[in-house]
Amino acid sequence: MSARDDILRGVRQALAGVSPAVEVPAAPRVPDRGDLVALFVERVEDYRAVVTRCAPDEVDQVVRDVLGSARAVVPPDLGLDLPGAVVDDVFTATELDAYDAVVTRAAVGIAETGTVVLDHQPDQGRRAITLVPDLHVCVVDGGQVVADVPDAIALLDPARPLTWISGPSATSDIELDRVEGVHGPRTLHVVLVG
């Protein structure tokens, strides 16, 4: 008998006489927190990420200022005017390692947890480009911010690869002392539009 059949048979035997019907209580919703965008900004900053708020017509300039002279890679459909930025041409990991920064959009922002979710559409690019460079500038529209995790899950398509980002990479593995910046981008700069 194959391992598959063996395991499935074992599972069925183990559960013989056990009713599969379980009442699953609905997960509670967070109470109304008022201004979601303000909460989102506060919670992102709590992770020691940097947040800049700006109007729609200021985005290009704000991002240019954040980048300064950093060599930036960008996804194909970013839609910002960034002189000098290079569009990702399916670079290898080693090629990406030569860039200092990456600029992307996002799919969803979660206020309660201060999380940005990327679903890696063409305005966010492949997963690798937001991982290898040391600075990630993420442009989030105020209208993309939802209250809590269940709202984000409802909006996101699981068929796409997703990356949930809450602050810069971090570790607490040495004496539980939190250190920002290990393997992922050591700086996360969220530009909140609107």
Partner: protein
């Protein structure tokens, strides 16, 4: 300490040794208290935490109760999404599958995301035997691997090491397996983390094959979820060409929406954060993005055994947050190594016997590694009633010795008690003997309890184990039945 749990002594022996290590106790007390406080703070922030726990427990319990259906759905979804699904009955089969896939790509190294399942099956050692180097990329796992050490915590495997020890390990060992640590390395956590970043980056950039586990597997969509902090997980899940994920069959949840309570419960319970820095989800292969060859190994390794246990089944709800370790008074004092398994602490004390049975002495000692205080149940995000399962597993240990040719002292004592209690004349005789003991103690005993009652101090022989740390109150001189006979049930006044 060598790099294997095989041959570890039973818990009482290992615990005694650990208790003698004052450095270890200091490291542990500091770490468990820091993380406990962090958790308490972010949990208090959630108004309906108890309702959230009920929802999380419900989602996992429902998935377990219909596991075969969900596993078949998961397999179909994964295949549809371009993944190859393998099934492994035990550790040996799982390791062989990983080795075979790796060798098929002609490489002699893999990068690894921290994964309890691969630690459980001893994957690194198995791959090494096949000439494949498995590089751990989580900082704590790296510390353990370079130190030829054993993990002692589910979330922070190097919790028993302090910064000075870690600096020493990095300086001594990094150069042997890749980029050496800078000579001016200090013991600042940020500096140590930067050394790990530089050391591992070359491995990430050249790796062809990565191995991961998964925190959750969504049946209806074929989505795997990895929750992490450092970005080493993203590196492994994104950059290599081939990804092999070893997933315990109990990781399945039915639907995408089922992730909701779990993704809210896990980070707050484990690292004490509102959300962990990175969560990656992927469903099979995404053309042009990430690994183009994706393997999923569905692992049993004792899980069907645990599933068949009506009381213990709930242990399979565990989402490996490690909150139960951090609040456990036993874990806090002895640390993780004494449990002799990659799953230490209260959850390990039930999971190991449930997965493997209690036939060996080491595993059989684990259900007793608890004071049954119940703190673990209180913090468990999926409401595993660990104390009840511990008691039930103690019964399993006792049951497993019923056929012994030489019975244990405890079994003899219980038999004697049953014999005495089952006959009123024998009981009366035993009560008389106990009353006499009480009288002797009152006359000659030197120990008195607060309030003035006489007590037995340290007794010799087999009773020393109990009386060495506890005073045994002197038995009353007169039994209830003697009192009843003498006073006609209290009608004669009852005074003596």
């Amino acid at each position: 300490m060598s790099g294997t749990f095989v041959g570890m002594p039973a818990f009482p022996t290992a615990a005694r040794e650990a208790l003698g290590d004052t450095q270890l106790r200091r490291n542990l007390a500091h770490a468990t208290h820091v993380i406990r406080d962090k958790r308490a703070k972010v949990v208090a922030e959630v108004e309906d935490w108890e309702e959230l726990r009920l929802a999380g427990a419900g989602v996992k319990e429902a998935a377990l109760r219909d596991l075969a259906t969900h596993l078949e759905t998961l397999e179909a979804s994964l295949v549809r999404a371009g993944a190859t699904v393998h099934w492994a009955r035990d550790a040996e089969e799982a390791c062989a599958i990983v080795a075979q896939v790796t060798k098929a790509h002609g490489v002699d190294e893999v990068v690894k995301v921290k994964s309890m399942a691969t630690a459980e099956i001893g994957l690194n050692e198995a791959l090494e035997a096949e000439g494949i180097a498995a590089w751990e990329t989580d900082l704590a796992e790296l510390i353990v691997q370079l130190g030829d050490d054993l993990p002692s915590h589910i979330l922070v495997p190097a919790i028993h090491r302090n910064r000075a020890e870690i600096r020493e390990i990095f300086l001594r060992r990094m150069g042997d397996v890749g980029r050496p640590a800078p000579v001016d390395l200090t013991d600042e956590p940020a500096v140590l983390a930067a050394a790990a970043r530089a050391h591992l980056r070359e491995k990430f950039l050249r790796a062809k094959v990565a191995v991961s586990g998964a925190n959750f597997a969504v049946a209806e969509t074929g989505t795997l979820v990895v929750v992490e902090s450092e970005g080493n997980g993203r590196m492994c899940l994104t950059l290599p060409e081939v990804l092999i994920s070893v997933v315990g069959i109990e990781k399945v949840v039915a639907t995408w929406a089922d992730l909701d309570p779990l993704l809210r419960l896990l980070p707050r319970s484990s690292t004490g954060e509102r959300m962990n820095p990175y969560t990656s989800t992927w469903s099979g292969v995404t053309p042009g993005d990430g690994p183009q060859e994706v393997h999923v190994v569905l692992l049993d390794n004792g899980r069907t055994r645990a599933l068949a246990d009506d009381v213990g089944r709930q242990a399979l709800r565990c989402i490996r947050c490690s909150a139960c370790l951090n609040v456990c008074p036993v874990y806090e004092r002895v640390g993780g190594h004494a449990y002799g398994s990659v799953y230490p602490g209260p959850i390990g004390a039930i999971l190991n016997p449930l997965l493997h049975g209690v036939s060996d002495e080491q595993t059989a000692s684990l259900p007793y590694a608890s004071s049954l205080c119940g703190a673990c149940f209180e913090v468990c995000p999926v409401r595993i009633d660990i104390p009840s399962v511990l008691v039930d597993q103690r019964a399993a240990v006792v049951d497993s010795h019923r056929g012994d040719r030489v019975p244990k002292a405890e079994a003899v004592a219980m038999k004697a008690a049953a014999w005495a209690f089952s006959d009123s004349r024998r009981l009366a005789w035993a009560e008389k003997a106990s009353g006499l003991g009480g009288r002797l103690l009152r006359r000659f005993g030197r120990t008195t309890l607060p309030g003035g009652r006489a007590a037995a101090g340290r007794l010799p022989g087999p009773a020393a184990g109990w009386t060495g740390a506890r005073d045994l109150p002197a038995p009353p001189e007169e039994s209830f039945r003697d009192w009843w006979d003498r006073t006609d049930g209290g009608r004669d006044g009852g005074a003596r």
